[in-house]
């Protein structure tokens, strides 16, 4: 299988390493800094920290260029096809899921990337959050129809 070959796994490792370094350098692993960005009520007093906007914009620009480059390729370097998400429909599940995630993110200040990266430092409370996130993810998988074809049909 292509996805057990060394170049494929080395690419996953390189990507993960860049991601983890980026989360530390950008301070996304600091929940308090994330919350100071989300706290738009501090804008009038001048206490708002807009830094995280400076994280996501260059990330999007670089990925946008990569996507444009990929449009001229038949396939990625180490697999037979680009696994483009096929869901197209904007439905209640998308909006409801995003809203639930928004509440969780606003409560704790960490999204899934930083939550996993923080295993590097094991701050107090991390395991509770991660185990709960795992349970939540599993519970969610019981709500969405199982099987790719069914999920795809459901999302159309």
């Amino acid at each position: 299988m292509a996805n057990l070959k060394l170049p494929y796994l080395a690419t996953a490792a390189l990507s993960g390493a860049l991601f983890g370094a980026g989360l530390y350098v950008s301070q996304m692993v600091d929940a308090r800094k994330v919350l100071r960005f989300l706290d738009v009520t501090a804008i009038p007093s001048g206490g708002w920290d807009p830094s995280l906007a400076f994280v996501i914009v260059p990330a999007i620009v670089i990925m946008f260029l990569a996507v444009q480059l990929s449009r001229q390729q038949q396939a990625p370097l180490f697999d037979v096809e680009f696994h483009e998400p096929e869901y197209a429909h904007i439905d209640r599940r998308l909006i409801g899921g995003a809203a639930l995630f928004g509440i969780g993110w606003g409560m704790a200040g960490i999204c899934p990337g930083p939550a996993l990266s923080l295993i590097a430092f094991v701050p107090d409370g991390l395991w509770i959050f991660l185990v709960a996130m795992l349970i939540g993810s599993y519970a969610g998988s019981l709500i969405v129809p199982s099987g790719h074809a069914k999920r795809l049909a459901d999302a159309r």
Partner: protein, 150 residues
């Protein structure tokens, strides 16, 4: 103000963008962390690369804190996640468990998080991702305002 750090934010964001670009151009995969995390659970056929990705990510966070003491968090590592706001009378572990549950279930049924929808989806000009991003950023800002956690 002291806490505004646009340069390290942009440097870190560029690394994250490179990470998503490498996985897309190399393996044709979206670097969405909630998806990678959620599909490490059974049933999943291709667990190996996701495990490799997460181990590399955690290791790089650990190494970055030691190699780059002058950048980002200045060598500091977070000792604890957030405390629950006192006014709500909810113990912090319960608060964090609720937040974790909502994050897990929401990203699963909404098909993505800050990386999958926020970085990769917007870069792909996906309308679904744009809607998801507006909803979870908006709701997160509202949640912070209502809970008074900052």
């Amino acid at each position: 103000m002291d806490s505004f750090t646009p340069l390290t934010a942009a440097l870190g964001g560029s690394l994250i963008g490179l990470a998503t670009a490498v996985l897309w151009l190399g393996n044709g995969r979206i670097a969405g962390i909630s998806g990678i995390f959620g599909q490490m659970l059974p049933p999943a056929q291709t667990v190996v690369w996701r495990l490799v990705f997460v181990i590399a990510m955690v290791s790089a966070t650990f190494v970055a804190a030691r190699l780059l003491p002058g950048i980002g968090m200045g060598g500091d590592v977070p000792a604890a996640l957030v405390e629950a706001p006192a006014a709500w009378g909810i113990p912090t572990p319960v608060w964090l468990a609720i937040a974790g549950l909502l994050t897990g279930i929401g990203t699963k049924i909404g098909n993505g998080c800050t990386s999958g929808h926020g970085v990769c989806g917007l870069a792909r000009l996906s309308r679904r991702s744009l809607v998801a991003v507006l909803v979870f950023f908006g709701v997160a800002m509202l949640t912070v305002a209502v809970t008074g956690i900052v």
